[in-house]
Symmetry: C2
Subunit: 397 residues, 2 copies
């Protein structure tokens, strides 16, 4: 085997073992097209390095009845320790996973302010990761890596943040800045991308190779899974949804442009309209506005319904472009029910190109920041597994 | 080697040989990770089947100086004969390629009406392909396949047309219907997808693995190349651009929905506005309208400029989603200059998410139906090469 062949073989086999909960060597050969001899050689290496382990199948399988217990291979959980963190405006949520993706601990840390420089953010994350690791009987430097999900425009392959509402500067080499200060490799991505990863590994995306996740928080985000892989756009920071335009020269957006979807559906956009609606008493708080709309008040209802129609239109455009079989609307709070409403989904269905096939299935997944952190950890786990496969990392837990 | 291994190996090696103009066996092994012994075995099969051929390198390379002329492998052009056809409202354009993609003949046939049933379309294509083959000294049944580009909503993997302006029925099994009547395998796809393939193999997309093609004819189409592959959406018929919505409850579109991009930029949309513009003399013909707009007339200019702004907004949304490094605006006619205009491109650049990196490069490619036909042939060529690789076709030319 040449060096290249060995490297490709290791990556392919480790990926296949990760995908399968447990798998015998012969199936590895069949599924990957790699010869049995090569599978034996490479898996021996992976076993010796402690990345995988053998496990015998106690079920009464055919082999067992012939007296030969089947031996499967599986990922060795203890091989690596991975953390994931989601940064929101009020807290940092963290989870700790082992190399097989099992959760060992979780943690939520309140933060004192919503905007940081990268040094301050490193301090917060360092303390939080240290605590997280200790909760599971480890220490910070036992971590093989930390995945970080952050809102904004992120070039994930470079770990570079063009802009984030959580950072006080543009153009931050965030993965590098955090990595140096924590002493642990850090992998940063847009938080909506990481929700898509979380859905893929742990949520409603399991068993689907292609789906779209739309996240609804204070902003609107999108994550795209194509061919079982997260798709970030051709230069690393596409999948932008909240600032796609739904109205030519429309409402002013916080980003400084006009007509962005967020300028119609974000909290500030709803309140802005409510504030200046004359003649009628309108609530100054989003919760109150939504309640008023549900109770049928004219102005409040008009504001909230338009948000829904704009959201449906944006969603229909995504469907026309990607023709997905599944869209997951993923958000933390029950209070976004007006965007999850059946009339919104129905308006989307009416606005897509009409053909005689089923419109995409829409699933609604309400979950908390902890699951965003799971996505961040899953991203770091993917990167670390890839490093381990090519033997580029040295730190085994 | 197992059957699976052999099949994967054949596909990988034939693809690699197709990608390289010519390549020595040792490079094949290096690039694919397939062992030299397996490369030798499989390429011997491919040589015996006449799919590839050996060609000796006459250049004074290192090997040659050591007295051993280097032997490369290349695709054997004569192995297969492939046609491509683009169906427009006035003509069918065709090209004939050999297995290595070299053009052997071309043909343009006027058609008597713009809308057909699939039987009539088969008659037209059969006569045209017969003529095309004879022009190059072959006959119809020498064709290994025919690629067909048609406007509308096409599920390419199934060869199924949900809807096309060229067909008088919805839900047509067009690949099968045509294939049976021509006696040759037929591969149908949306025409804009095939323009993207043509750009990839023969046009401005060469050397790019990721780019977006937007086609401008009477409608607006899109083709997406991601990771060196045409991306058709997760269920085969995405990449819809002309009927994405640019205005909530906006102008009525020919498709029956409101606010589609085409309802603002298509010929009929421009004329519709001109017809009802009161008080000023406005031309009733698109060419005249565009001329009037260029000459500065108020209403005409207002109509054409809004079309440009809507087009820019739609384009900006595509950029936000795909973050492409290259967008190719591909259209036949000079008369769409108002959509290719620098102020339209500039408006797109201003409407995308603003980060400190270069906006996508926009290239304008004006070409004729012949190149759309090249795309159709390229699609058939890809499918036929895949069939040949797994030994699933039997007809060698």
């Amino acid at each position: 085997m040449s060096v290249q062949q060995r490297e490709i073989g290791r990556k392919t086999l480790l990926e296949e073992i990760r995908k399968s909960a447990r798998i015998p060597r012969i199936d590895l050969s069949e599924k990957t097209g790699i010869s049995r001899a090569t599978v034996t050689t490479i898996t021996a290496d992976l076993l010796r390095e402690g990345l995988i382990e053998e496990v015998s199948d106690d079920s009464p399988s055919k082999d067992a009845r012939r007296g030969r217990p089947r031996v499967d291979l599986q990922i060795r959980g203890a091989a690596r320790l991975i953390a994931g963190a989601k940064i929101s405006s009020k807290a940092v949520s963290l989870v700790l996973l082992d190399f097989s993706g099992h959760q060992l601990a979780d943690l939520e840390v309140e933060i004192e302010k919503p905007v940081f420089d990268s040094e301050e953010l490193a301090e917060v994350l360092k303390a939080a990761c240290d605590q997280l690791a200790r909760d599971a009987g480890f220490k910070l430097l036992d971590l093989s890596g930390l995945g970080v999900g952050i809102a904004g425009i992120v070039d994930a392959p470079r770990g570079f943040v063009h802009w984030s509402p959580s950072l006080n500067a543009r153009n931050v080499e965030l993965s590098e800045d955090l990595g140096v200060r924590l002493g642990v490799p850090v992998y940063v991505d847009n938080d909506a991308n990481l929700v898509a990863l979380a859905e893929k590994y742990f949520g409603l995306g399991r068993g689907h190779t292609d789906f779209i996740v739309v996240t609804i928080e204070s902003g609107v985000g999108m994550g795209i899974v194509i061919g079982d892989e997260l798709y970030r756009g051709t230069r690393g920071c596409g999948a932008e949804f909240g600032h796609t335009k739904v109205h030519l020269e429309g409402a002013m957006c916080r980003c400084g442009q006009r007509g962005c979807l967020e300028a119609y559906v974000a909290d500030y956009a709803l309140l802005r309209e409510a504030t200046f609606a004359g003649g009628e008493s309108v609530e100054q708080d989003v919760e109150d506005l939504l309640t008023a709309a549900r109770d049928g008040a004219g102005v409040a209802r008009s504001i909230v319904e338009r948000a829904g129609r704009m959201f449906a239109m944006g969603l229909a455009n995504i469907v026309n472009i990607f023709d997905p079989e599944l869209i997951i609307l993923s958000g933390e709070q029950m209070r976004f029910d007006h965007l999850y409403a059946e009339e919104v989904i129905e308006a989307m269905r009416r606005s897509i190109v009409q053909v005689d096939k089923a419109p995409p299935e829409v699933k609604i997944h309400k979950w908390g920041d902890q699951m965003w952190a799971m996505g961040a950890a899953a991203y770091a786990l993917d990167m670390i597994a890839e490093q381990a496969a090519i033997g580029a990392d040295t730190d085994a837990a």
